[in-house]
Symmetry: C2
Subunit: 335 residues, 2 copies
């Protein structure tokens, strides 16, 4: 359903070129779409069957959208051939580590087979595609030691969740397509990131939604949490998608880049900061069912390669990210 835009915008987009974002209505996808429109690109995007437009409703008229199942190779191939993107950002994924434990097969189908389809389709358009950016994850590392070190890009992969397994296998595919076919693929190994619009199945939005609901008086002043002891390297989604853009423009084909804050924060600290932003007095209770069977105790990524080679440095402070996310939920939760 491509939608026409005014001629000035169209001319600029013609000059800058066409980009394709799979998973465009997802959390990261929606921010990347905004950024690429701002930069003047013509933005094409793929949604999953049944996926909602909520995250991209405000920019929907500026996007050319399609919708099909990414696990269908022939569809991905035909679509890529039709769009002819200069940059292809492959963000479509089953993105929740937690949910991947109960949705194993779906995770492998979408994250591995879906990516294989994108690699094949891109290879058939190899002369046109300047960069293919694929999104991997710090979850590929699994549990490692020593536990508190800063993870560099060459840290061996040892995934322990279905999500991590699917992303590690996708990274191997990326390396293979680069070596075998010279596909200009660049791997973004994103560490945890959050912000407005992230699903409340993730930890920060889960806290924010509960706090906002309590503030509206629609819930008892008790917040239910999972494992607060784990430490995560937490970035703002708006910084992360800027990293994807930098990788498209300056990333070295075949390379992996860590997009991370370079710092590690305990989930307990995140919760305390959010509670400190609320006028409500809120009790905290731990819910064991929210604990994962296998959890990585600490994650902290060295982002010096991204800084050096991509000129990428995170701009958002954690406090801003948390404040914006809490405000988003304050606006979202009904009175």
């Amino acid at each position: 359903m491509p939608i026409s835009r005014d001629s000035r915008t169209n001319n600029m987009a013609k000059m800058k070129g066409r980009v394709l974002i799979t998973g465009i209505a997802g959390f990261g996808g929606s921010y990347l779409a905004e950024l690429m429109l701002e930069k003047g690109y013509r933005v094409f995007g793929l949604l999953a069957p049944g996926e909602k437009y909520d995250n991209i409703n405000h920019i929907k008229n500026d996007l050319a959208l399609d919708r099909f199942d990414i696990t269908r190779a022939e569809k991905v191939s035909a679509y890529t051939k039709k769009v002819k993107p200069k940059y292809l950002f492959h963000l479509a994924a089953m993105a929740s580590v937690g949910q991947s434990f109960s949705k194993e097969r779906l995770t492998y189908d979408i994250n591995f087979t879906g990516s294989l389809n994108v690699f094949e389709a891109s290879t058939s358009q190899i002369s046109r595609i300047r960069r293919l950016i694929v999104i991997s994850s710090a979850d590929c590392f699994g549990v490692f030691s020593p536990k508190n070190k800063l993870l560099k890009e060459d840290q061996p992969l040892a995934p322990i969740s279905p999500y991590g397994i699917s992303k590690a296998a996708m990274e191997y595919l990326a390396g293979y397509y680069h070596r075998q076919y010279r596909l200009p693929v660049v791997i973004a190994r994103s560490f945890n990131h959050t912000g407005p619009r992230q699903s409340d199945t993730f930890v920060v939005p889960s806290f924010c939604k509960q706090i906002a609901t309590i503030e509206k008086g629609r819930r008892k002043p008790i917040i239910t949490v999972g494992n607060l002891d784990v430490k995560r390297d937490l970035s703002d989604v708006r910084d992360i998608v800027r990293g994807y853009y930098n990788m498209a423009v300056r990333g070295k084909p075949g390379e992996v880049y860590h997009l991370s804050s370079g710092k590690s924060v305990a989930i307990k600290t995140v919760l305390d900061r959010l509670l400190g932003m609320s006028p409500a007095t809120i009790k905290v209770t731990r819910d064991k069912s929210r604990f994962r069977k296998a959890d990585i105790p600490i994650l902290c990524g060295d982002n010096s390669r991204a800084e050096k080679e991509l000129g990428w440095v995170p701009k958002y402070k954690l406090s801003e990210t948390l404040k914006d996310t809490l405000d988003f939920w304050r606006n979202t939760v009904r009175q």
Copy 2:
């Protein structure tokens, strides 16, 4: 098509228990079937649709065989439930590194999805299954440095072929099913192995078949070879399947064992030894089309864990293996 056996054998098999071998008509599968019959087990086996019986023709009447596509989860599940194996040896695979470059999707479907199906099916029978043995490969390592070191089990995986990628991902699955569901899975990381019956798409049988054909006067005395410079850790298939058996009986759930000779031999040396066993005078020509785009220069596996924990030591000398393989092809190639 289960086939009845005489009552003495049946009673012994009843005592020892039932084993299931996927890929039973494959190269390793056929030797493992022989070994398990010798040990007194009732042997059930799965073949792929269209797969030939050649390797198991001589023992076919002693086996209970079935045939279906291992990528079909519901079939694998029903079959495992029916057979109720004490030991499940999962050997079904697209087993050629070389062919995996042109059969990527088939490789991932059979080696990854097929294994996922076996893990799921075994987990649903977890109280009955004493061990699930899955077959991985030294090809998971890819290219590593320093190039001449002895590879231990904890060497990071960095596969470069579709075959290696599929097996590395399968290893991650195995680890996951062990941690998550306590599935008693043991990983055999087999290094290269050869012997009679191996397909001539592999290097040693390819040499042997050509030499045997030359000896019969059915081919000019010129042997065509690929890259002779790579070094491989080459075992006898009969030692390797004994390793699988030892892993079933003594292997530690969740553990990986290297089954290897512990030595590395140049493919050129293998060829020279085979040529030395032939009375024919044979010229060697290199065929660049037989070179792989990505080849691992050297492989050598440390087998000390298997020796220590499984009491496994290779018995066959390389010269015996090569002689037996050459003799097999001398008997196979028609006059």
